[in-house]
Structures are given as C-alpha cells and as structure tokens.
Subunit: 245 residues, 2 copies
C-alpha cells in the first residue's frame, strides 16, 4: 500500500467513551476530505476502566496514571505518531505519561488557551469542568499565560456542572442540558465573553442550549491540533489546505 | 489494574471514518452502563487509506484485502479479543482476513438477517447499499437463508443511493437525505416491510427522514452483537443485564 507511511493519529480515550466517539466524529468532520482515502489514519484506545480522574485528584482514589501509561504505550507500539487525550481532567496526569513514551502527547489545555487568546485578547473566560479540573488551576494558569481574565464559577454552580457531567456519562444529555442552562445564563450575566466546556462531556450537552457568548470546546480545538500535526508530518497531503471549520 | 483482563472489542474501521465514529457512538449508547468503568474497552483501527471496497469489487480496482489483514493483525496484536468491521461492502472480503487472525471476526450481514427474521418472519425486505454490496448478493443470500423475501431496488434508485453514500462521505448528510427520500417512498409503496441501510453511511442520512416502514441499521445490530460477545466473555459483568435499546 502506497500510503503505508502516512501518519497515524493516536487517541487515548474512554474517559468517557461517549466523549471519545464524539471527539473522533469532530476530527472526521474537521478534515477537509471528500473521499475516505484523504482522511488520516487513526488508532483509538478506549479504556473506560481507567480510574476516575476527578476522584483520584480530589479524594486520593485509585491513580489513573498506570492505565494512561499502558494506553499510551499500546498506541505507540501499534504505530501512533503522536497522541491526543480527549479528556480534560486526564491532563493533570500527562507529565508522567510523556516520560514513558517517545511520541508527542498533545496539550489540549494550552491549545485552547492559545486559540482563545487569538480570538479574544484580554477577554473574560469562564471555565466549566469537573471540580478536579477547576480546582487544579491548569486552565487558569494557561489562561493567565495567554493574557486572559477568568470569571469565577460559584460553588453552587459547580455542583450543577458536576451533575451535568454525570448525566452525560449516564447517557442523559437532555437532563445535562437542563442542569447547565442556569449556569451559562449566570456566567453571561457576570460578563463572560467566552465559556470553555472544559470537560469532554459538556459540549454534548451544550449543543442543546442557546449560548449567547462564545462556547469553546477544547476537544474541537484538539481535533484541529491533530490535523495541524498531520499536516506538519505530511506537507504534500490534501490536508495542507485550509481546514474546514 | 484489576480490570486488566476485561475483554477488548476490536473495531476495524475507517470505511468510512464518519461511519466508524458513528458505530462507536452506537456501541457506547447501547451499553447499559451508568459510569465510565462499566463500559467495555475498545481498540479502534481507523484506516481510511484502505482502497475503496466497491471499486475493487465492481471495477477490479486495488484490493482492500492487504489493508484489511494489516488492520486485523494490528488489532489482534494489540489485544483485541474479537473484531467487528462496521462496513458492509468490506464483508465481501472478510474470509481471507479470518484466515489470517486467530480472533473471531463478527458477521454483520448474518447478524442483521437473523435480527430481521426474529422480528418479521417471512417479511419483505429492501436492501440499500453500494452497488457492490447489492450486486454481490451477500445480503440476499443471508435473507433467503433466514426465510425473508426481497424487494428489488431499481437501477435509477440505485444511482440515488450511491449518490447519497458519496454525499455522506463528503460530509453532506442533508443532501444525502434529500437523495434518499424518494427511494424510501417508492420502496414502501412497493410493499417493503423493512428497509436495510446496508451501507454504514446510510443510517446517518436516514436519521433525517421520516421512514414509515422499519429502517434497520446493520451497524446497530453489530453493536449489539459486540455487547453479546463481551457478555459471553465476562458472564459476571454489568453487561449481563438486558441491553438498552
């Protein structure tokens, strides 16, 4: 096969599995291809058995690191040229994973902050995510580095966000949207220019809501970063053109 | 990790990539799980560079078999316990693949005929698919074995179906639905009790149409067959209960 040497996008997923399916769908939709053979190859390791990242961070539950390393190695051993992890909270644990594999592991958090800074200089950004993602400050730090201001999410609002994430994981997207609606309204009233759906489950619910301010989906940003990486590895591919948005 | 021995569903995809994302979404939705850790693990090799199956069958184009075997071996080598191929036309080429791997490769065509026969004994079934799938007769043979009757799709209708498949592959699902609508209406007028969306692209378009008769999606049937297989491998898992429908 002449295309044997084409790059392979590695996706370390299953956190949760619905978000992984959604991420791959976004990657396919973002690819400016009109026939199968123009799409890049991808290898997806979906391991929902990886211990809950938020529980590990907040309550000292079982560590997700061994499962993440196992998955990253499987992807590398099977030919992945780089690895994307479509799970925000997992980004708290990626440094030890990067130490164990020789292929790059992309950074969805920094890619999102960079994309926001390009679109909204000095803008006010609210972060929705698991309590672990929010408390860890990984997004806040990335926002500050890129000159963005943060709009706080209150404790009662965080409870609604956490309940919405659990509802998506349980398959009830409409319930999640109901839970999320008042939070988005309140954040917009408090001046948020952009709201980051910083948990891969949240954009699935936000699709069912009217959002006045900009809703930024980090997994869509990550899909774009994957295609950028493929283009850098194959400068003569059809992907060299402008990306579909 | 205590769940290291849990089964791994292998998915040989990329034919096309959007259908693969859709298949994994269906698999996740069909799983009766309320938390990530209850979902089975999956390994998805999405190789859109595999030569077009319909072109190979109809016009003697490049064979998809080497790419299919390469993918199946990757999945087996990386720990897949069995393999599902969410592409109807690829089923024309699965026998040589089965000879090259030691893990089972599920049969979506027979699983679909079996499901139809259980629901509609002696019913009249119309098959929509690529020209290659239709002409090959793999569905017709499976239908006959299960006592089902076939409703013919005329040549002009087949052209619309082929155009609809190409439209989905190019990302234009609504155009595909427009192309498909008159075909479905005509088949229902000619007495079809059930219409099989025998190309993984077609259910994506049919979601946008009102279908009076039963629209059967073989990739949904295949997702159910994967979960049945996981349950047979892990009799004590949460999947032992009735599946979500």
């Amino acid at each position: 096969m002449s295309e044997r040497a084409s790059p392979v996008i590695g996706i370390l997923g299953g956190m949760g599995p619905a978000a992984t399916a959604d991420f791959y769908r976004k990657l396919v939709l973002a690819t400016p291809a009109v026939r199968d053979q123009e799409h890049p190859r991808a290898l997806i390791w979906s391991d929902p058995s990886i211990p809950d990242r938020a529980s590990a961070y907040l309550h000292g539950g079982a560590s997700p690191i061994p499962g993440l390393i196992d998955g990253a190695r499987r992807l590398e051993d099977s030919g992945a040229d780089f690895i994307a992890v479509p799970c925000n909270t997992a980004h708290l644990y990626l440094e030890p994973v990067r130490e164990q594999v020789d292929v790059p592991v992309l950074d969805m958090i920094d890619a999102t902050a960079r994309a926001l800074a390009l679109r909204h200089e000095r803008s006010r950004v609210a972060l929705l995510g698991t309590a672990a993602t929010v408390r860890s400050g990984i997004y806040r730090t990335a926002f500050e580095c890129r000159g963005l201001l943060s709009v706080e999410v209150h404790a009662a609002e965080q409870q609604l966000v956490s309940a919405a994430i659990a509802a998506v994981k349980a398959g009830d997207v409409l319930r999640a949207a109901e839970l999320l609606a008042p939070v988005l309204e309140a954040l917009e009233r408090r001046g948020a220019d952009a709201i980051v759906g910083g948990c891969t489950e949240l954009p699935l619910a936000a699709e069912h809501l009217m959002v006045g301010s900009t809703f930024v989906d980090p997994s869509t940003v990550l899909a774009g970063a994957c295609l950028d990486r493929v283009r850098s590895l194959t400068p003569d591919s059809v992907l060299k053109g402008p990306l579909a948005s």
